[in-house]
């Protein structure tokens, strides 16, 4: 009985793995396309690509990181913070995401700096 259950579980994993890989592949294509247009200064279009990537694969930290950068460039700070924080939640030890987030927070906090004693 146990063997049969294990077999079913393995089959399910085997069947879902390509679907997951497809999702990541599609999201990667959106992310790469976004990078191409961002490098041409088309940040609005790039951000749209990264938004799509996060919808396709919500567990893709790089897409959330790039989306944070896109929102930051467009002046959408609250959205940028949420995107960066989502990226860090998915990959807490990624130093590149952490570096981006720290630099963003410096500006974000400075802008929101009020009298805090």
């Amino acid at each position: 009985m146990n063997k049969r259950l294990w077999l079913i579980a393995l089959m399910l994993i085997g069947l879902s793995a390509p679907a997951l890989a497809d999702k990541r592949g599609d999201a990667k294509a959106q992310v790469a396309w976004g990078i191409q247009v961002a490098q041409k200064g088309l940040w609005k279009e790039a951000t749209q690509q990264w938004e799509k990537a996060t919808v396709i694969d919500p567990s893709y930290a790089s897409a959330w990181n790039n989306l944070g950068i896109g929102y930051e460039q467009l002046g959408k700070f609250d959205e940028a913070r949420k995107a960066y924080e989502k990226a860090l939640e998915l990959e807490p030890n990624n130093q590149m995401i952490r570096g981006n987030y720290d630099q963003f927070r410096e500006i974000y906090d400075r802008q929101n700096r009020r009298r805090v004693k």
Binding site: K28, A29, V31, A32, W33, I35, Q36, A38, Q39, A61, S62, N65, N66, I69, E72, Q73, L74, G75, N94, M96, I97, G99, N100, Q103, F104, I107, R110, Q111, R113, R114, R115, V116, K117
Partner: protein, 252 residues
């Protein structure tokens, strides 16, 4: 399949292929911070003067007016009005018929409570309307600036250099007790409509810098160091600021 679709698809293929080669890209970005105040009705700005007090080592009223005027000259579209800096403490004391101190250079404002006593002058619409009329209805910047000496004691971290067993220079963190002293700056900037005398916006800050007791830091340089920290936010009230930086785009 149209030519445009072919171009788009091939570009996408190149993008994906190049993404396979590199997993990150450093890009330059300009973070725009929108102005907090709509200053389009004004073409000129008057940095009038401030309610100031605290340390006697500098004159915060003159220094603040001078610094803000020079910053606005370079980073704002508004024309700066060059006028004598108003001593608001004097003005308010005369208005409420408070006797001037026996020593003319005596500090009348020592702490935040004293500053609050002078708050009514910042809200006096009649007074600011008169000032506005005098200078053809500009945007008026005023407020309060408290610059005080502070001292603290506590544990601080210090990097200490040493030579390791291989003879290489290395650093280690050491915590030690220290007496620190420095300055605190508590400014509040008030933006007034010179046409009506009404307050449009106000914003307060607190910054402090502490130094080792043995370090002799002049009050004026500490004042500029503290003002540097909040100037971007001040300037951002009147104009959109762009902060240049770099970020890392990721593919993997």
């Amino acid at each position: 399949m149209t030519a445009r679709t072919v171009v788009a698809l091939s570009s996408l293929a190149i993008a994906v292929a190049s993404a396979g080669c590199l997993s990150f890209y450093e890009v330059a970005i300009e973070t725009p911070i929108r102005a907090k105040l709509d200053v389009t009705p004004f073409s000129r700005v008057l940095v009038a003067g401030f309610v100031t007090g605290g340390s006697r080592s500098i004159d915060p009223n003159t220094e603040t007016a001078r610094l803000l005027r020079s910053q606005l000259r370079g980073k704002s579209e508004l024309k700066i009005i060059d006028a004598d800096v108003i001593d608001l403490v004097d003005v308010y004391d005369k208005k409420r018929s408070k006797a001037a101190p026996e020593k003319p250079d005596a500090v009348r404002i020592m702490d935040e409570k004293d500053v609050q006593d002078y708050e009514p002058i910042l809200k006096d619409e009649k007074y600011w309307k008169e000032i506005g009329d005098e200078y053809q209805s500009p945007l008026i910047i005023t407020g309060s600036v408290l610059f005080t000496e502070v001292s603290r004691s506590g544990m601080v971290s210090k990097l200490q250099s040493y030579t390791d067993s291989m003879g290489r220079p290395a650093y280690q963190e050491r915590r030690e007790f220290a007496n620190l002293r420095g300055y605190a700056l508590t400014p509040k900037f008030v933006f007034i409509d010179g046409r009506t005398g009404a307050q449009l916006y106000s914003e307060g800050f607190y910054e402090e810098s502490l130094y080792s007791e043995t370090q002799n830091t002049p009050a004026l340089s500490s004042y500029f160091e503290l003002m540097d920290k909040l100037l971007p936010s001040f300037l951002n009230t009147l104009s959109t600021q762009k902060i240049r930086g770099t970020r890392v785009l990721l593919v993997k």
